[in-house]
Amino acid sequence: MNIGLFLSEGDGEISKTVDVKSLAALYGEVMPVSVFDNLQSAASHRTIFREVEDRKLDAVVLAGESPLFYKKTRNGERLLSLLNTAGINPNRLAIANIREQVSLPHRSAPAEATKKAKVLIDVAIEKVLLSKPVDLIEVSPRRAVTVIGTTAAGLFAAQRLLERNFQVDFLDREEIRALNGFRNQIQPTLAAIKNHPKATFHASKITDFYGYAGNYRINLENGKKLRAGGIIVAIGDDLKLTEELYPFLRLERNEKGLFKTLSAETAVTETVQQGIFLIPETPTISAASSLADSAAMSLDSLLSQNAIRHELFVSEVDESVCGGCGTCIKTCMFHAAEIDPVRKLASTNIKRCVGCGNCVSACPTGARDQISGSTAYYLSAIRILATYKPPSGPRLLYVICEGCGYPSLDFAGNNGIEYPTGVMPLSVRCAGRLDTQFILEAFKQGFSGVVICKCKDDHCLNIVGNTDLDRRANLFRAVLSSRGISPDRLRIFGVSDCDGASCVTSAVDFMKYLQNMGRA
C-alpha cells in the first residue's frame, strides 16, 4: 500500500509543542511526507490533491487537527471530498489528532508530546493498513421532504420547499401547533401551504425509520408509508416528542435533552445525520424564519445533486464461521441483522445498519466484524499505544466513543486543560463496540488502567451502545473478581452534553488513585 503522510503545523500551534520537522524526517524515510502550515487552506488542499495524483497514493494519513474539524467545517469537508475525488477510499484515510490530543494538552512537555504524536501517527497508519476498502453506493435523491413538527419554523421551511417543487409531508400529533402568538405572522405561510397539491399532513407516529440521505423510508402508526429524500425536524422544545423520535432519528442531544445541530456557528441546521436538518427552538419569529430558510436551502442543495454517495460502514459476516445462532439479531437495535434460517447464516441489511458495532461485540464466534474498525485493528492499536512509556506516572488506555467521548477530549485540549502524557486515546465508533477483550488486551500490554469515556444516559447515538457496554463491563468485573483481581482498574465515565471536560479531570483523579494503589 502506498501511504502518504501529511503533517500540519497547525499555524504554529502544533509545532510549538510537537517537533513536526523531526517527525517528517523520521517518516520521510519510509513514505512520502509533506508538511503544511495548516490543512485548512485551499492551497494546502491543492497540494495534497496533486501529491495523491502524482505519487499514485492509495492511502492518506493526515496528522494535525481533530477529525471533528473535517466533519464540522466546510473547509474540512472540502478536503475529504477532494481526497474522495482523487480516488482515496474513505477507509484508506486516517486522521491522527496531534493537535487536540497532543500539542494542546501537553504544552509543557514538548519532548514527550513528540513521542506521543509519533505513536498516534503509527496508530493511524495501522488503521489504513488493516482496513478493507469500504463499499460505496449512490442514491438518487427523492424530491420529497418530511417535515416533523408543524411549528412556525416547520411551516416556513415547508413553504420554501413547496416553492422549489418538493413533495412535502407533515408529521405531527396535531395539524397546527399552538403558534405562541405568531398566528398573524404565519397566516400568509399557512395560506400558501393549505390545499397545496404537494403538501400532505399526517397526524401519526413513526414506527419504523431507515434508509439514507436521499432516500429515507418512514412507516407510520396509521399504516402509511412515507419516503423522503430529507427530513426537517422543527419540534421546538417538545421534549416528549424528542424522546419519541430519538431512537429513529439518532440525533445528538443537548443538556436539556433536546436535539442539537452540528455547530451553533457554522452548521446551524445540519445534524450528525446527513439528510436530517434541525431547526432548533428559537425565541423569536425572525430567527425561526431565517433558520427555516437555512434548513430548506441546505436540504435543497443536498437533494439537487444527481447522486448522493454513501459509505457502507456496516457490519460484515465471515460465512465460514457464522453458525446462525441469532445473537446479533437479538442485539441489534436497528433490525439490521438478519438470518437465513435455511443456510443458518447471518447477514446485514445495509439499508438499516448504522455501523455501531454492537453486534460485533456480541457475536460469540467472532464471525462479525466492523468494516470501519476491525477487531484486528483495535487490538493492534492497543499494542501500538502501549509502546509509549511516559517518564513518570501511570499509563491509561483512554477509550473514547465517537459520540461524546471524542468531543469531550477535544474540548479539554481546546480549553487549555493540561493532563499527563500517559493518557493514551483510542477512538471507537461506539461504546457498544468495546469488547471486554480490548480491556484485557490493554492490561496485558501493561496499561495501569482503562478508562472508557462514553455517552451518558440517553445520549448514545446508537441508542443502546452505552448501556450494553455497562452490561458487559459488569459481567467482566464479576469475572475479574472471581479471579481475585480487583476490577478497580477499569473505570467508565458517561459524559452528559458531549462537550464537557469532566472526563479528563476524572481521568486525572483516576491516575492519582492508581499511583497510590501502586505504592500501597
Binding site: D318, S320, V321, C322, G323, G324, C325, G326, T327, I329, K330, T331, C332, M333, H335, A337, I339, P341, K344, P364, T365, G366, A367, T375, D435, T436, Q437, L440, K444, V464, R471, F476, V479, L480, S482, R483, G484, I485
Partner: protein
C-alpha cells in the same frame, strides 16, 4: 507403504478420549493397515519408543504428566493433542480457581471422609504443578482435536488426515449450525430477550425437546462453542456446556469463564494468589 508408528499416552484425564478411540470398534481395523500402535496405556508399555505420531490425552497437572509430555515430544515426529483436556486444559483446569495449598488441604486434610489427614510428601509421588496447563503450554503441539471426548468419527477423520499428510480440518462454525432444535424467538429482532434472566434447566417444569434452549430461558453454550460434536448433548435434551471450546475466530477466551473447559488457556488462566 510403511505403517505410521503411533504411541498414545495418558496425562491427567479420565481415559475418555482413549475410550472414544476404541469406540471406533471395527472401523478401527481398516486404519490399522496404515498405522501401528506400538505404545499405549492399554498395551501397558512403559517406555516411549521413537514414533511418527504421539497422541496425548489429558491435561498437564503434575510433574509426571510434564515428564511424560516432554518424553513424547522427544520421541515423536508429530504430536496430536487429543481431547479438550489436552487442547484447552479441560475440567481439570477448574483447579486453577484455587491455589495449590487450598486444593491439597481440601483433598487430604479438610475432607469429610478424612480423620487427621495429611498431605502426602513421599518423594516417589508426582507433585502437583501450581496450575493446570494445556499440552501446548508445555510442549510444541502439531495437531489439536478438542471434544470431551471427541466423537469416534472426529478421531477417525483426524487420523486419516494425518496418515495421508493432509491438513487436519476441524469444524469452524458454532454449535447452532448443527443443532437440530427449532429457532424462532432467536431470529426475531426484539431486544427484550437479550436482558431476560436465565434459569437453570432444573427449574423448568418441562423441557421442550424441540425448541432452542435459549428460547426456553436456559443458558446453552452452543452459540459460543465450536460445532463438530454432533450436538450430542442437545440431542439428549441437555444444553451445551461448551466442551469443544470456542471457534477459530472467537476472540481469545475472555478469562475462560464462558467455557468451563478452557480456563488454563484464557488470558488470565488462574486465580490471583494472595
Amino acid at each position: 507403504m510403511a505403517k505410521l508408528k503411533v504411541a498414545t499416552g495418558l496425562l491427567q484425564g479420565c481415559f475418555g478420549c482413549h475410550m472414544a478411540l476404541l469406540d471406533l470398534h471395527e472401523d478401527l481395523l481398516p486404519m490399522l493397515v496404515a498405522l501401528d500402535i506400538v505404545r499405549s496405556p492399554i498395551n501397558d508399555v512403559k517406555e516411549v519408543p521413537e514414533v511418527d505420531l504421539g497422541i496425548l490425552d489429558g491435561a498437564v497437572c503434575n510433574t509426571e504428566n510434564e515428564a511424560l509430555a516432554k518424553e513424547f515430544r522427544k520421541k515423536s515426529k508429530k504430536i496430536l493433542a487429543l481431547g479438550t483436556c489436552a487442547t484447552l486444559g479441560g475440567i481439570n483446569g477448574l483447579r486453577n480457581l484455587y491455589d495449590l495449598d487450598t486444593v491439597l488441604k481440601r483433598s487430604y486434610v479438610k475432607n469429610e471422609s478424612t480423620v487427621e489427614g495429611m498431605i502426602p510428601k513421599s518423594p516417589v509421588i508426582p507433585r502437583l504443578l501450581p496450575h493446570v496447563k494445556a499440552l501446548h503450554q508445555v510442549i510444541e503441539v502439531d495437531y489439536a482435536l478438542p471434544g470431551c471426548p471427541p466423537t469416534p468419527a472426529m478421531i477417525a477423520t483426524a487420523l486419516m488426515d494425518i496418515i495421508s499428510g493432509r491438513e487436519m480440518k476441524i469444524a469452524s462454525k458454532n454449535l447452532c449450525h448443527e443443532c437440530t432444535r427449532t429457532h424462532e424467538q432467536m431470529y426475531i429482532p426484539r431486544r427484550e430477550f437479550v436482558t431476560d434472566s436465565v434459569t437453570s434447566i432444573m427449574e423448568l417444569d418441562e423441557i421442550n425437546e424441540e425448541k432452542c434452549f435459549l428460547e426456553q430461558g436456559v443458558l446453552c453454550m452452543g452459540p459460543a462453542t465450536r460445532e463438530g460434536c454432533e450436538a450430542r448433548c442437545v440431542k439428549g435434551n441437555t444444553p451445551c456446556r461448551g466442551c469443544m471450546g470456542p471457534g477459530p475466530d472467537a476472540l481469545e477466551d475472555v478469562v475462560g469463564v464462558g467455557y468451563r473447559y478452557s480456563l488454563p488457556v484464557s488470558i488470565y488462566p488462574h486465580r490471583e494468589e494472595k
